[in-house]
């Protein structure tokens, strides 16, 4: 930036001569990290050359006045700009920056930014440090992309929790069956439950394996002719084992229909939808699994009477997020990844007081 343009710079800091800021601005421009200086409203004043050249080809004029979400391609920033969308209220990065300004203290956070074209979003670790330069309150931002260690820890934690829950119940059931004093009918019931849990355990392992392979682009679908009614019944049988007491899962009757798709992957997408739905229910609720054809497309629908909060809606399909709560489940990320990236379909949802919550998986119908 030459002297003439600097004197016209919109931000007073950059109108100053280097000697006024002790060469600080030059140092900040040259740090070998993604870094920048933001004003108190989170808009860029300055960025490191590393950020300008690496995140996206940017020039300084592109950057000035924009917020981090704008330059990272956040989908929530597309319409109204970073920080202005309805979902921004729940953005961990945005809320951490606000907290840093309010507390005048360093705040660090891991956040997944919903970037168009990246299922599950892109994970970053952001650090916001408020400080003063030549009397101006600013925020020093640095961030690093990729999967933070704690996110890997989260996946490991979720994986082991779910597997240990299932395997633990196997141990308990075998303990019970080992008791010679229990009635024969109870033994039969327990054996049936044991079988269910063993299948569930296998399913959990298979599901996680699929999701990890899909993330590494190692999954290739194997298409075959599938009976839609049969696969829906299989999904229902499997999902019912996860339903809380008193929750019903009903399957719409349909006329014999066949589609071409990968059996395991389609089952996994529909099972994730149905399992999420039953787990969100309480006794007395009904989950409905339906199928219909429309305009050359095959549409699977799972509905439950619950309504998501605005915060839950903002987290759907985000990697590591779960409607079940912090640290739970693969959430809806897995169904989106398998359904869209691998099977070429479209996964969407709606949730309101009128219709409850509906997840849809739409596949283009392929000929026999």
């Amino acid at each position: 930036m030459n002297i003439e343009s600097r004197s016209l710079h919109p931000h007073p800091l950059l109108r100053w001569d280097e000697s006024d800021t002790g060469g600080l601005l030059a140092i900040l421009k040259n740090v070998p990290h993604f870094a920048g200086i933001l004003d108190e409203e989170g808009r860029f004043i300055l960025a490191s050359d590393e950020l300008l050249t690496s995140v996206e080809p940017l020039t300084e004029p592109d950057l000035l006045g924009k917020r981090p979400g704008d330059i990272l391609g956040c989908a929530n920033a597309v319409e109204a700009g970073c920080g202005s969308g309805a979902a921004c209220e729940f953005c961990r990065a945005s809320n951490s920056m606000i907290k840093a300004v309010e507390t005048k203290d360093l705040v660090s956070v891991e956040a997944s930014i919903p970037v168009l074209g990246h299922i599950g979003g892109k994970a970053y670790r952001f650090t916001f440090r408020p400080f003063s330069i030549a009397g101006h309150s600013t925020i020093l931002l640095s961030f690093s992309p990729g999967m933070p260690e704690t996110k890997l820890d989260h996946y490991e934690r979720v994986f082991f929790h779910d597997i240990l829950n299932a395997s633990g119940s196997l141990v308990g059931l075998l303990d019970i069956l080992d008791d010679n004093g229990i009635p024969a009918q109870q033994k039969t019931d327990e054996l049936s439950l044991l079988k269910q849990v063993a299948e569930h355990l296998h399913g959990e392992l298979e599901g996680y394996s699929m999701t990890l392979k899909a993330q590494r682009h190692q999954l290739v679908p194997h298409e075959m002719l599938l009976d839609v009614g049969e696969i829906m019944e299989r999904v229902a049988v499997a999902a019912r084992t996860h339903a809380p007491t008193g929750v019903q899962l009903l399957v719409d009757r349909i006329s014999p229909t066949a589609i071409r798709c990968d059996d395991s992957l389609l089952f996994r997408v529909l099972f994730n939808m149905a399992k999420n739905a039953v787990e969100a229910c309480s006794a007395g609720d009904e989950v409905k699994l339906a199928f219909f054809s429309q305009d050359g497309r095959s549409i699977f629908s799972v509905t439950n009477p619950g309504v998501m909060s605005r915060e839950q809606k903002s987290m759907v399909f985000r990697q590591g997020a779960s409607t079940k709560g912090v640290g739970r489940g693969w959430g809806t990320f897995g169904m989106k990844l398998l359904g869209e990236e691998i099977l070429g379909g479209k996964v969407s949802f709606s949730s309101d007081t009128a219709g409850g919550t509906e997840f849809r998986f739409i596949l283009p119908t392929k000929g026999k």
Partner: protein, 143 residues
């Protein structure tokens, strides 16, 4: 099943684990099941206000909608608001498939009586009940 006994609430979202805990505990009294945090709070409150409170709660940590730590804190708050002495409050055993120190420490800060890591073995559970002062004789029935 014994005719008299304790009131027990099992808070566990995994259906098979609900069955296991129910089978292990039914010799000692009436076992109720809750599959999530809000249901557990509602059931505790109903029993608490109905003068027939629970004697024992087996509370899983990872639950849908509200985790076990939050459930534990809410229960203890209700008891404190009614000035229930610590010796008279409901006995709570926290359970989890993950035995990490973070969860264990958080559980005890939240004032539970005990923590059991899954898989929960019948013998370990019975030993824990005895440790907490429940009357369980050699035949594993309530006296």
């Amino acid at each position: 099943m014994s005719q008299v006994g304790y009131r027990i609430l099992v808070v566990e979202d995994y259906p098979a684990n609900q069955v296991v805990m129910e089978r292990f505990l039914e010799p000692y009294g009436r076992v109720d099941l809750a599959g999530n945090g809000p249901d557990a709070i509602a059931m505790f409150k109903e029993a608490f206000n109905g003068q027939d409170p629970y004697d024992l709660i087996c509370l899983d940590i990872m639950l849908p909608r509200m985790d076990g730590h939050e459930v534990l804190n809410k229960i203890r708050d209700m008891e404190r608001n009614r000035s229930i002495a610590a010796s008279m409050r409901v006995k709570i055993i926290m359970t989890s498939a993950l035995g990490d120190s973070r969860n264990i420490m958080a559980a005890f800060r939240g004032e539970c009586e005990s923590y059991l890591q899954k898989p929960i073995r019948r013998e370990r559970l019975v030993a824990e009940l005895k440790e907490l002062g429940f009357n369980v004789d050699k035949d594993d029935t309530v006296t």
